[in-house]
Amino acid sequence: MKTKIGVYICHCGGNISDYVDVEKVKQAIEKEEGVSLSKTTIFACADSNQKEMVEDIKNNNLEGVVVASCSPKLHQITFRAVTERAGLNKYNYVHANIREQASWAHSDKKTEATEKAIQIVKAAVAKARLATSLNPIKIESKKSVAVIGAGVAGLKSALELANMGVNVHLIERDFFIGGRVAQWDNLCTSNDKGKDIISRLYKEISSKKNIQLYTGAEVISYSGSIGDFHLKLKIQPRFIHNNSNTEKLQKAIDACPVEVPDAFNFNITKRKAIYKNFPGEFPELPVIDIVSCTKCGVCEKICDQIDFSQKEEIIDINIGSVLMATGFDPYMPAEAEFGYQQSDNVITLPQFQRLIANSNNKLSYLNKEIKNIAFIYCVGSRQVEGENKYCSRYCCTTTIHAAIEAKKKFPEINNFHFTRGIRTYGKQEILYRESLLNGDVYLQSYEDDPAQVLIENGKTIVRINDILTKKKEVDIDADLVVLVTGMTPREDNSIGSLFKLPKGRDKFFNEIHMKLRPVETVIDGITIAGACQGPKNVMESINSGLSAAVKSYSYVSKGELELEPIIAVINKDACIWCGKCAAVCPFGAIKMENDGKKDFAIMNNSVCKGCGMCLPVCPTDAIELIAYSNKEIESMIDALL
């Protein structure tokens, strides 16, 4: 029991003292057991008072400190720091809120407000008497990070982590790196090509000894927690030996008789079963798509480096943190949505981008020359009826940029934009102007009256009631209709399910706090970056990749982690393992264990957040929360009554 407790009662300028008689509070508290010093102060948080507190604690060898002022959300950290500066363990500090809970709440009843304030401070003193010094829990943390997804966000964060001296396992499910960005030709507002950016990043990655890249790799299981995750990877073989002869391989590709839709070009072209996406792609080694391959053996005869005996590998990795950068899938329009799959000349924006990138001299699609292009915006985004309420943010700019690029390449074309309002925010606005000056026509409608795609006598007519022209009905005869499809979460969410990553309303992975903790997830040690978190453009993806890298680094940089000591502890002897605590724990920190004599609950100290959910459900009262023990809470209640 402490006998030297210092109590400070704050005026808060008048916010408290105008309604609560702080002198009276001080007089009442002075007499409390254990209180050796009590003071009032105009502003407890002021620098001068903080210094005075430090002096008081040192000179009087105070064992506990209470400040009665505002909400602990505002200044608990401030005063804990004061006690620490004075050499007193910060858990000996107790905060009493007499502003929000007394003066502001009862400004019309001053006497009662004062009485209530006295009780609140007494309760705080009661807690302070029993408070004990605590030290942070220290756990070992592996100095390596797994980056899942080698798209632009993953590549950039892997590089950044490697630069900071961390071992990086870069895991890519596809056989080639670069993700979506590798699929884009010219990027907007900078003069780069998507694949050039990827090859620059690849060159940097390959020069780093502390980055291990796995392609064709999937995470199949995971265990452990922050500082000590264990992942199991399944790595598919390429069926081709490294250092193969490029010429022979090209001949093998040419000879392959199997043709399947090329996903790299969003299925508007075909590829072979042995393939690479484009010259100079990384890794610069083709792969055999074993699902489509008929094993006819034609390629083997041409190139002896092809080896069907290669087997998939399973490897284990041990890391301190996981950085998720698994990207997005473009929205797939439903059948008949704006004529999709009803008419051959209705395609999506990603398909259009590949079409422009692959076309030269003349723009044609399915052997039909293209003159009039109709872009229909917000397909799969900002849906009134559908699931996707959000704006995909990148599509207005990308479409306008694609229209400009197309016009540059094929000056004869006409672009018609059927929009629901253009959002080319920031520097991208100049593209909008450029496209307008190119003579592109913009039409607009509200969500309840969207543009219509009509197939009439073999013609594809796009019609709209243009709200910019007195809602007049206007139309065009389109040779190509491009559905401006937004971003959606990955259709295959197996990785999210594996890690039990929470998803937001829009089904993308969710951060803890949109503004204050934008790359952290509720699972300690797992960060998110790029478009797996929500629609982002290249620049934004890289930004989030960099910040996730720094956050992941902070978990592993010291080789050990300091965690908050206020956690729940389980009394093994009292525990009868009913499993109720494990069921209510939102963090999955409680597991069952058996020592050969009985089943009992065991707490993972690095996962417990000290929320206290497990306490009330325990039938044998076997769990106690450090710093909020029954004894402490009971003494506070006694003081209040």
Partner: protein
């Protein structure tokens, strides 16, 4: 329903538009316009029709004529899409559409053609004078009758049919039902606007320009009357002689000021000049200026030895009467006042029904 026609925008460029396609429909132009009203809101609507190539709507609209080009819309346009110059270009385009001969359109679009036409007329006049052995009396006599004849012919053959076409586009085709009484009652508007251009006073800070323009109109009409009906160059009456001098001075001083404005480009209205604008103002200036000197030479007895001054005057005059009046900017004098007249008819018919 109408099909979007992007070629129209390209076509309109030849009539003088400047970047109007940069418009992103904020509507600032319409908000700042002091002549735009809720019922007659412009210029954004016209920018939009132009972007979509809705020619029928533009032909049926009088809005281009309701704008008197103060230039505020252009000053406030965040996209520098020059709505003011678009309205000006639409007036040129409408002038070309009203003209049944189609010559206006050709001349607006091609300066080369305009130049050749002007040159041919000059050569023709000189050839005629050569044929007449530069006989002063015959040529001056001819000149006087040419003026009378030209006024009549241009009105009868070109301008009246064109006005009928304008009426067709804006009243008959849109099926405005107006009886004769409405036409009669609205006639007052026609003459008020023809001779006062009072709507131009609705533009902010436009008093000086309005005044200059009005005295130019009066000076021009009066000089036409003085030379054609009072036969100024042969007059002996002192009053008529002085009247002619005053009128011609008014014309060349005001037009000189207008030319200066187009060179200095301080005001929006004068920033973009098409060949048709230059021709109009320069030829009006030359007419006033040469008429003044012809009469001065007559009064000083110099004309016999300096007959070239009259030849110059008659060349300018024939070019003016044969090209600029029927196919050039001159006709805005009629279309603007008739637009106010038709607008009044449409409004009265609307009220009645």
């Amino acid at each position: 329903m109408s099909r979007i026609n992007t070629k129209f925008g390209t076509d309109l460029k030849k009539f003088g538009t400047v970047d109007f396609q940069a418009c992103y429909n904020c509507g600032n132009c319409t908000a700042v316009c002091s002549l735009s009203t809720e019922e007659h809101s412009f210029p954004r609507e016209m920018v939009r029709y132009s972007a979509l190539g809705m020619q029928d709507e533009i032909k049926a609209s009088l809005k281009p004529w309701l704008c008197y080009y103060c230039g505020e819309c252009t000053e406030h346009c965040p996209q520098t899409a020059n709505p003011g110059e678009l309205m000006m270009s639409l007036r040129r385009w409408l002038t070309a559409k009203y003209d049944w001969t189609g010559l206006s359109g050709l001349l607006y679009k091609s300066f080369a053609l305009t130049f050749i036409a002007m040159l041919l007329i000059a050569v023709g006049v000189i050839a005629f004078a050569f044929k007449e052995n530069f006989n002063q009396e015959t040529i001056m006599h001819f000149g006087h009758y040419f003026e009378m004849f030209a006024v009549g012919a241009v009105f009868a053959l070109i301008l009246t049919p064109n006005l009928i076409r304008m009426w067709w586009y804006v009243i008959v085709k849109p099926k405005v039902k107006a009886d004769f009484k409405i036409y009669l009652n609205s006639a007052k508007e026609l003459f008020i606007h023809m001779f006062t251009q009072k709507r131009a006073l609705g533009c902010d800070d436009n008093q000086v320009r309005w005044f200059e323009h009005m005295i130019l109109v009066f000076g021009y009409i009066a000089l036409l009357f003085t030379t054609v009906f009072l036969d100024w160059f042969s007059a002996t009456n002192k009053f008529i002689i002085v009247l002619g001098y005053v009128e011609s001075i008014v014309i060349f001083i005001v037009t000189f000021h207008f030319m200066l404005g187009r060179i200095q480009k301080k005001k929006e209205v004068a920033k973009f000049s098409q060949p048709s604008d230059w021709l109009f103002v320069i030829w009006l200036f030359l007419m006033g200026f040469s008429a003044f000197f012809v009469r001065l030479f007559i009064d000083m007895g110099l004309i016999e030895n300096h007959f070239w001054i009259y030849l110059f005057h008659i060349i300018v005059l024939v070019q003016w009467a044969a090209i600029i009046v029927p196919f050039g900017k001159w006709s805005h004098f009629l279309y603007r006042s008739f637009a106010m007249y038709f607008e009044n008819i449409i409004a009265s018919a609307g009220k009645k029904n």
